[in-house]
Each structure stands twice: as C-alpha cells, then as structure tokens.
Symmetry: C2
Subunit: 178 residues, 2 copies
C-alpha cells in the first residue's frame, strides 16, 4: 500500500507502509544516562537502580491512566543506532556464536528491543523508570503492563543462556553491535 | 527519509521509513487455528496446548541456530487486523475503562503485540509452538529467547490486573477490538 494512499488510516498510527511492511511512529522518547553503547549494561539486571525517564507524546497522555498500579512495565523500542544485521552473532554473554533469534543482540532483521523496567512514578506524560538499560534518545514504540500471570515463567529453560544469564548483572556492552 | 532513498539500508531490514517513523518487514508468518478474533483466547494462558507454527522466511533460517534449547520464546508481531486506536479501552478482563498502555488491547497507537509461547520444535525454517493466542496469518516481526533471569518477575504488582489476570485462562475475545 502506498504510504500516502490512506490519510485517515495514517493519522491513526501504525500503518502498512508498503506491501508487506509495517510502519510505526514513536510514542515517546527514553532519557537515560547512557549516551554511548560501549560500556552500557546489557540488560535491566545490569542496570539496577539506574533511573531514566520516558517523555510520552503529550497527545497520548490519556493512555497512561491506571498504569501507576503496575510495578513493572514492558518497553518496546527501536534499536535506533543499530544498522544492518547478522544471522549469527557472538553475544556479550558468550564467546561462541549463536543464531540471532537465540540472542537479545540489537543487530536483528527487525531492530526492535524489549526491556522490562521498574515503574517509579507517572506524572502527566512523564514516567520515571528504574533499571534502565536503554540508550538516551531511544524511540519508544509501545508500553505494556507487566503481568506475572502472563509473563513470569520462572522454570523456563534458557538454552545457552541458562549458564550465563546470571552474568548480565556485571557484563558490559562493547562496540561490537555498532 | 524517502523510502526509496537508500536501497542498501532497505535491503538490510528495518529502516527509517520517513522522518520519525520506523518500518519493519515481517520475518515470517504465524499459522494458528484462529481465523477470527471473536472467540479467541486473549492470552497464551487461555490457549494452553493450542499448537501453531511459525514459517520463518527461508533466508533467515540461520538465525534460528541454538534456539532449540529454549522452552519459551517471545514473539513480537503486528496486530495486523487492528485499525486505529483508543487511548482508553474496556479490556476483555474488566468492565471498567483503563488507559490503553495499562492494557494489552490490540488497538494501540502502535499495534504491536507480544506473546510468550512454548517452543516445541525447530526444523529448518519451521517452528512448532504451543499456547498460541495469535490469529492465523499474523505477521511476525521478531523472535527473542525467553530468559527467566531477564524476564520472570513473579512478585511484580499488576495494578487492576492483579485481581483479574487469572481469568485470562477462560475469558474469550469478542468483537470489540475489530
């Protein structure tokens, strides 16, 4: 579909951008202390206590009603600094290569990231969040409430990460995924 | 950015589609028993044992290496039947209205969904999955490994959903989000 073909639909948000692709406009921007990928925490587990903010687009503020009751939220965002991708990558937590879909590496066919962060407060269109492992300026695509009944599978087996995921609290990013 | 301006980047996958928006091309398609939103399970918890398949684009098959070791995977996908959005919605699990970002409702500013499903098998570019709460034909945007150390927060507080999330196993969708 031509991206100018349906103005009404375009104004409503996400639209089909051309045949077989989807286009999303950020709902807001994440502010964090991290201005460079090198040296960043690689997961929220490595960013304990690190605070950041979300500045939601003011026209979407009403969508935050009742979010305050949730201790954790799921952020879906663009890895906006990621260019291109590899199907096999050597992730930060291992020395061996793995298929990119078996990793959380940012250089993915669709450079979309998810992070589960603590929600500290909501005031108007500004959220204060904690355990932030995102780059400053990250374009936010969606916020979803974290619901243990839907999302917490403590006994899940995590393949190659079963041995190494615990190191995510101390391992830092380097320049490999620039 | 004009969508035809940078062929190289376009060929690498996700690209900026125009100023301030991001475009993603599906990595594959989900096949499920659900051809209509009405009557569908509203969460994987309501789809226990329901099997589906993912047909990944054959050119991406190498990205599945080592995924077999994971019992659960996170699917990120387009709510492709969802048109427009409301900032406040009455979700399936409640009779009260809530801000859309405090719900998992599909009519969101960016109609992106996530589901955590069981991974049964991987053969070439085809994954068999279980607990599938997705429409047949859903365009898949990403697959990530589910890692309890990153993703399982059993003690998280879930606001209005703390009382009702348990009903997701029995409540079915209706036509409200078409």
């Amino acid at each position: 579909m031509d991206k100018t073909a349906n103005k009404d639909e375009e104004e409503m948000g996400s639209t089909v951008c051309q045949a077989d692709s989807f286009r999303y406009t950020p709902i807001g921007i994440v502010r964090s202390p991290f201005t460079d990928t090198a040296g960043m925490p690689i997961q929220p587990a490595g960013a304990k206590g690190v605070r950041g903010t979300i500045a939601l687009r003011p026209d979407l503020t009403a969508g935050l009603a009742d979010l305050k009751g949730f201790s954790h939220i799921i952020l879906i965002y663009a890895f906006h600094r990621s260019k291109g991708y590899s199907l096999e990558v050597t992730p930060f937590l291992d020395t061996a290569r793995h298929g990119v879909f078996a990793t959380r590496a940012p250089k993915r066919p669709n450079a979309i990231g998810i992070s589960i962060v603590r929600l500290i407060s909501v005031e108007e269109n500004v959220l204060i969040i904690e355990n932030v492992d995102l780059l400053d300026g990250t374009p936010l695509l969606d916020i979803k409430p974290y619901v243990p009944a839907f999302d917490a599978f403590s006994d899940a087996k995590a393949g190659w990460l079963d041995q190494t995921a615990g190191n995510a609290g101390s391992v830092r990013a380097d320049e490999r995924f620039r």
